[in-house]
Symmetry: C2
Subunit: 450 residues, 2 copies
């Protein structure tokens, strides 16, 4: 359907149609590319553009695929035939930082990294810290309920969201939540939009919690004989009543690759753990961690300044880039009850052997959230189907161990079939009923998420 | 409609009809009594009883009023004509405590106090602590998203809920959430049921987070010249990057009454603040609080053991019982952005004068959550309408200051009209659409909450 000059004239931002739309708008960072190409791309310059775009899509019989930075790993922002891509990354203003109320009001295109930097000027910080913090938008982080390293103490993205402004399927604005720390007036619609992967509406503003910058931060790292020993040491830290702000685990294979990338002398070990503590008790907590680790390994390092922290964390940061050198990577994302971490990691190693695949596992031990990374060498045409079979077994294992098929990356298109396994038919029906209540004509991201 | 022996025979628990139902099932602790009396009372002995009761009500054209301990303050559990009261307080088993996963699975009739005591046996605790912890049920706490003293550090009840089992309007079971710390598979239905005041389904089991018992706890109390000085001192504590586990404020009038009840020498002061810190940094944080308070008042006390804590907290605990001696009390519950606490308290004093009412204000300063208590002397017949008018002005003030009409007690029947003011027509429509999606025939608590 050709757009009338009238409807184009409504927009302040740019509108591109058909083949003028750059190819990158078809996919996110999962690699999934849907069939067909989107019909229209609206790069919104303001909230009215968002409202017009939603109405335009409804009038044109198109669906709306909201897009932040396209860094998603589940194909949730992928857009094919029949879709209007609504790019909100240009709505990138921090509207307010209220220091004494410890909150900020932001547009969805702001990145968490920029918000955090700005908050620091006020002695505050924004705690959610996905590894993609600089290459994703806060709107996308909210729509996927992104996790990160600090969740074990500070919670996931949703735990920092107080309220939202959303453009609904009829183009109208909805305000959810509040500016107060607490409040119970009506159902918690804010949490419903958090993690909804663009299926319920377009987030055009968010009120988010900020927290004081901690007075002190200490980092502790240690090498262990094997994954069982490392997981047990992590459990012992929590039993010792320590609340680490970070508790990360690397298996033997990913540790080796990360050390190679960094060019550091490879310290052979069966597993690596890096923890961070912060706040007034940071040193006492770090001492307790070092002592706990020290009971099973002699190779414990403690860093009390930013430079040492940087060094001790380098291996964790290098893990993914190190693997990306070896081919395409499937970045998986399961969570299990914390007591099952070692079992999960061990089973993943077995799955890798069974499917002749290279799988490296690291992740957020404090939350039981593991990222098995399947490396798919580009020169082996059979590697991809083997990798997919291995991934399926990993999801099955997560469910068997009482866990979930996705700790933080979401369902998107890639895990739709598995969602039905995790939720069961009854819960899926209720999920769909809620979706229909908000988007009766299935305008937003049809075929994605639930 | 007379019940057939068949339907009665289905129940393991007791069923009472019409005039056999004790009068106390008509109301909760708000004092609100609806017109008419309930038709039936089912005291459920197991989950099947709950399912049968829901179906029985649907078949009989009755509504379902779920009841925990009836300690609510908004009339949400009040039951009048046409209602089947479904009392789930008898489902009071702790089903599991998983120490290394730091979680418990409980039935809804367990009290938070009992769960907390049991968790302590495992070195853990259940952090949500409404003042009614021993006289309410955890199901009711979840259904109202109850707050308490520790929210400022540990969050409200909902922040401790990982997953729920709910009986829906068709009598079927729905499982929401998970046992893992994180997870993003599908919409967050758990948060939708939290705070839903019995309008979406019957919570028959909950998986809740436990936390380690802190290694140390320190209490700091101080007397201030006036409410402005006290509120400023609370703000300064937070700016000093302290994360207190409790930060409570009493105004002059409630302080005086509490001291009278306790029979302690009344320390004249314009306001009283009591804070608690916990964890590895407890002492350092308490020192910082004492130092911060010490800049404006010489009357600061620090207590490092349980006995001292008990003594310093006694005044806060005595505030409500002290007021209940003077007549009926309307326990109000607003929240404002933290920076507006002093302004709110000051305006409440003005409202009291304007309406010739006695209003005492105390509450959770760390969350901006204030409880203005309106004492209605029983010997003054005009006092009640004046109190209601004053309450209305308090709600209006909360909204004017960017706050909410309820921080933790909920909407129930008493604040329905005010809910529309807070949410606006658009949000109310969306809320109702969600409610209809889950309960299309308005079986659960019709006319209550949203
Ligand atoms: C190197 C790398 C590291 C990563 N690390 C992490 C990590 O540590 N933790 C983690 O959780 N994820 C991680 N991710 C995944 C990804 O970055 C996150 O999911 C991120 O939140 C997506 O944000 P985005 O702006 O790129 O969203 P997009 O990919 O553009 O969109 C993601 C979903 O959100 C929806 N959406 C986007 N904006 C809005 C809006 N304003 N309103 C409504 N819906 C919207 C889209 O429709 C889509 O469904 C990583 C990705 C990469 C490439
Ligand atoms: C002295 C006193 C102090 C209080 N202090 C606090 C406080 O500090 N913080 C606070 O937040 N509140 C407080 N309250 C209010 C009240 O105790 C809480 O709202 C409590 O959570 C209610 O629990 P209950 O079991 O008594 O629920 P009820 O009063 O029986 O019911 C409350 C609501 O929850 C619903 N409900 C109950 N159980 C279920 C279930 N299993 N499934 C679905 N819906 C259900 C009911 O239908 C109703 O809508 C206080 C009350 C009193 C009397």
């Amino acid at each position: 359907m050709p757009l009338s000059p009238n409807s184009i004239g409504l927009f302040t931002g740019t509108v591109l149609l058909g083949s003028d739309i750059p190819a990158r708008y078809r996919h996110d960072r999962s690699g999934h590319v849907p069939s067909g190409a989107p019909e229209a791309l609206v790069s919104a310059a303001n909230v009215d553009d968002v409202r017009h775009a939603v109405r335009l899509a409804a009038d044109s019989g198109w669906s709306v695929v909201v897009r932040g930075a396209g860094s998603g790993l589940a194909g949730a922002a992928a857009a094919g035939a029949g879709a209007l891509v609504l790019d909100v990354s240009g709505l990138d203003q921090i509207l307010e930082i209220a220091t004494s109320d410890e909150l900020a009001v932001v547009q969805p295109g702001v990145s968490a990294a920029v918000l955090d930097t700005e908050a620091h000027r006020h002695g505050l910080r924004y705690t959610p810290d996905p590894a993609s913090t600089a290459i994703s938008t806060i709107g996308g982080n909210i729509a996927t309920n992104a996790g990160g390293l600090r969740c074990v103490k500070y919670g996931v993205t949703g735990d920092s969201v107080l309220g939202l402004t959303v453009v609904l399927a009829d183009g109208e604005l909805l305000h959810t939540g509040r500016r107060t720390a607490k409040g119970v007036a009506g159902f918690d619609l804010t949490s419903l939009f958090v993690g909804s992967e663009g299926t319920l509406g377009v987030i055009v503003a968010a009120t988010v919690r900020l927290q004081p910058v901690p007075v002190d931060t200490v980092t502790v790292a240690a090498y262990f004989a094997d994954i069982e020993q490392a997981a047990a040491a992590c459990a012992a830290v929590l039993t010792a009543r320590v609340r680490p702000a970070m508790l990360e685990l690397l298996d033997e294979a990913s540790l080796r690759e990360a050390q190679n990338l960094l060019g550091v002398r490879a310290e052979a070990a069966g597993a690596f753990v890096v923890a961070q503590t912060d706040g007034f008790g940071a040193r006492a907590e770090a001492d307790r961690i070092a002592e706990t680790f020290g009971r099973v390994t002699a190779r414990v390092r403690v860093g009390t300044d930013a430079e040492a922290a940087h060094e001790l964390l380098a291996v964790r940061r290098a893990a993914l880039p190190a693997l990306e050198r070896h081919g395409r990577v499937l970045i998986e994302d399961i969570a299990v009850p914390r007591s099952r971490i070692a079992e999960a990691a061990r089973k993943i190693t077995e799955i890798a052997a069974r499917h002749d695949s290279r799988i490296y596992t690291f992740g957020h031990a404090g939350d039981g959230n593991l990222h098995p990374i399947i490396v798919v060498p580009t020169d082996d045409p059979d590697a991809h189907p083997r990798a997919v079979a291995a991934a399926d077994e990993i999801f099955a294992t997560a469910l068997e161990l009482g866990g979930t098929i996705t700790g933080e990356h979401g369902i998107g298109v890639l895990k739709r079939d598995w969602l039905a396994c995790e939720l069961g038919p009854r819960a899926l029906r209720v999920q769909l009923a809620v979706r229909r209540a908000l988007d009766p004509n299935a305008l937003f991201n049809p075929g994605k998420a639930v």
